[in-house]
Symmetry: C2
């Protein structure tokens, strides 16, 4: 990483590429977020990012903007350029043709089948390659993509809003509002950030949410409702107010031939995932959801679903929003339950924690493990 990195120039330009990459949030999934910057004689001559799923990759877009000027320039790109024909021709081909002399890369391609191949091809064609610049930041940006591309299982990110005593609702189900407006705005960001939202049927019944992103120019996520007994009806907002064919109900195969199921499919354009039995294993659900090309899920609760996810140890990360309120009522609903702990060492520990302050509320953001390619 020492090729002419005078005064941390590489980091400086990679940071710009990273910020550009973030502009693709909500628009490129299940593709990764990628940003690129082309620099010549210490001046940025072109910059861009992957804007829309299925359209030009960041490198291609940026090279096209630079035109002939790209000759002898340096390209900074947050992720290893692709070397295979997908929806678009491979980026390495475009880079080689452009006359770029050096390629500075953040993350390696996580796909074990192709990781490093883009770099190899570039080098074989006489292009200098600098790897691992701001690797950690670049890896962080695409945790969901990295997991999904490696495993086919969607990335699972937890969101919940709790009181100081860890409650998500009163005993009568009331939960509006435990956290303030600023914290709730961040939830809308997450709904745009991830491809799907998952809730249990009780959340639909008690809170009757729309489960939309409500962000300007934002993308509404897939709405995944875990509903073994098919208790949902077309009277609930999530069904009634959404006609984008992005509602998915996960229910027991026993409901497959029911009239309600047929009506929801035909009239309300609801998709179904049918599973055996009624006590679903979340990792079974995730496998099926992954098959629908949904690469990342925001799991929003309630208690049963969250507890289940913790017990299966399949949560990848999350943010727990804590309100400055106390219920102090033993009958109110905890956000996690059903464990029996006899020693502090058995407690669930949230890793890689950072705190976000929302005026009088706080968010504990965490990442249980990190996905990336060494």
């Amino acid at each position: 990483m020492d090729k002419k990195n005078r005064n941390g120039k590489h980091e400086k330009y990679m940071r710009i590429a990273l910020e550009l990459a973030k502009k693709g949030i909500g628009k490129v999934s299940p593709n990764p977020l990628v940003g690129a910057v082309i620099v010549k004689e210490n001046r940025i001559i072109s910059k861009g990012y992957h804007r829309v799923y299925g359209k030009a990759h960041a490198e291609v877009y940026t090279l096209e903007k630079a035109g002939k000027n790209a000759e002898d320039a340096i390209i900074y790109v947050t992720l290893e350029p692709c070397s295979h024909y997908g929806k678009t021709p491979p980026c390495v081909e475009k880079i080689i043709k452009s006359g770029i002399k050096r390629c500075v890369i953040g993350s390696k391609d996580p796909n074990p089948k192709v990781s490093g191949r883009g770099i190899e091809i570039l080098r074989k064609n006489g292009i200098e390659v600098v790897e691992n610049v701001l690797k950690e930041e670049c890896d962080s940006l695409n945790q969901d993509f990295f997991k999904y591309i490696k495993t086919g299982i969607p990335y699972l990110f937890l969101k919940c809003a709790i009181t100081l005593d860890g409650k998500i609702a009163l005993s009568n189900g009331i939960s509006k509002w435990i956290t303030n407006e600023k914290a709730r705005e961040k939830v809308l960001y997450y709904r745009n950030r991830f491809m799907g939202i998952m809730v249990g049927i009780n959340t639909v019944i008690y809170d009757n949410p729309n489960l939309t992103a409500r962000i300007k120019d934002g993308n509404n996520p897939f709405r995944l409702i875990v509903d073994p007994d098919l208790r949902v009806t077309d009277g609930y907002n999530v069904i009634k107010n959404n006609d984008d064919e992005k509602t998915v109900i996960i229910t027991s195969v026993l409901n497959k031939n029911s009239k309600k199921c047929k009506t929801l499919q035909e009239k309300n354009k609801v998709k179904f995932i049918f599973l055996e039995g009624k006590h679903f294993i979340i990792s079974d659900m995730l496998k099926e959801i992954g098959k629908l090309s949904i690469s990342s899920i925001l799991i929003e609760g309630g208690e049963k679903l969250i507890s289940r996810a913790f017990s299966e140890e399949i949560i990848d990360g999350g943010e727990i929003f804590i309100g400055n309120k106390i219920f102090g009522d033993n009958a109110s609903k905890p956000f996690v339950s059903g464990f029996i702990k006899k020693s502090i060492n058995e407690a669930i520990i949230l890793n890689n924690v950072k705190y976000n302050v929302y005026d009088e509320n706080v968010g504990m953001e965490f990442y249980m493990k990190k996905y990336g390619k060494k």
Copy 2:
């Protein structure tokens, strides 16, 4: 506040006085924390603070250091100088004699009987007085003193360490450790900051703490144990390891003539507060504790005592330390219980919140009300 306050000079020097005042933490209670700075021709010629209870007040100490140089200088002091003979002669007298030309003040004296009198005397004697400089910060510093001087009731500051799901211990009583070392160090700061620590007898039995400050040159607080049935014995650390005559047991008057009580008094130098019945009202306890000249109390739990304090609405402020751990065990011990809430509006709300991050833990610091003199 506009008397020659060019470029916020008053604030600049008052801030220095404030920092000096804090050096008295743990040493001056039940007196207030006070800092002073003397400035002449834009140079600090003397600075000081109230160092030890019963010894020179900040103003006197600082004026003595300045000597004849104080003539025509400006004194900055965080609290209105006293005008009455207490353990030391009044500060206003000393200021007048010194030849100081201007006195810049942060907080007014909170004692309704004397508030403003110091200022009046200074003005009558031809000294310019500037009031309310960094008033809010100066008021914040002495919340405990302000409350106690106005009401005779000790200031009550809550400390507790909870999991994300609001638990202070497992069902078997184990609680070591929910929070990390950095958070626990802050607790030692509070034990030095406040004059007394209050715990329920269950905390003594389950955790067997020493309840000492363990801060270098720190002051050990009074240890207040709420123990209606006198279950404590001299085998517990809090009795066994402390011989400074600062242990106070609050128990039922029914135990007054017991042998155990006599032995604890005579052998272990324990003080007693006797109350009627067995279900104590905390505000009754506070009145009695106030009579012992204990002006501020850190209330450390457990569940019963904290819940009681919230239900009596007598907590003045506190810090709730949140670990990045989840028990998820319904049988584990909540930090607050016994309330029944039917609407979110009935939740206990913590006011004036600020967050302190201790690596992977966070502290929610709050102040339910503010004491000060307008």
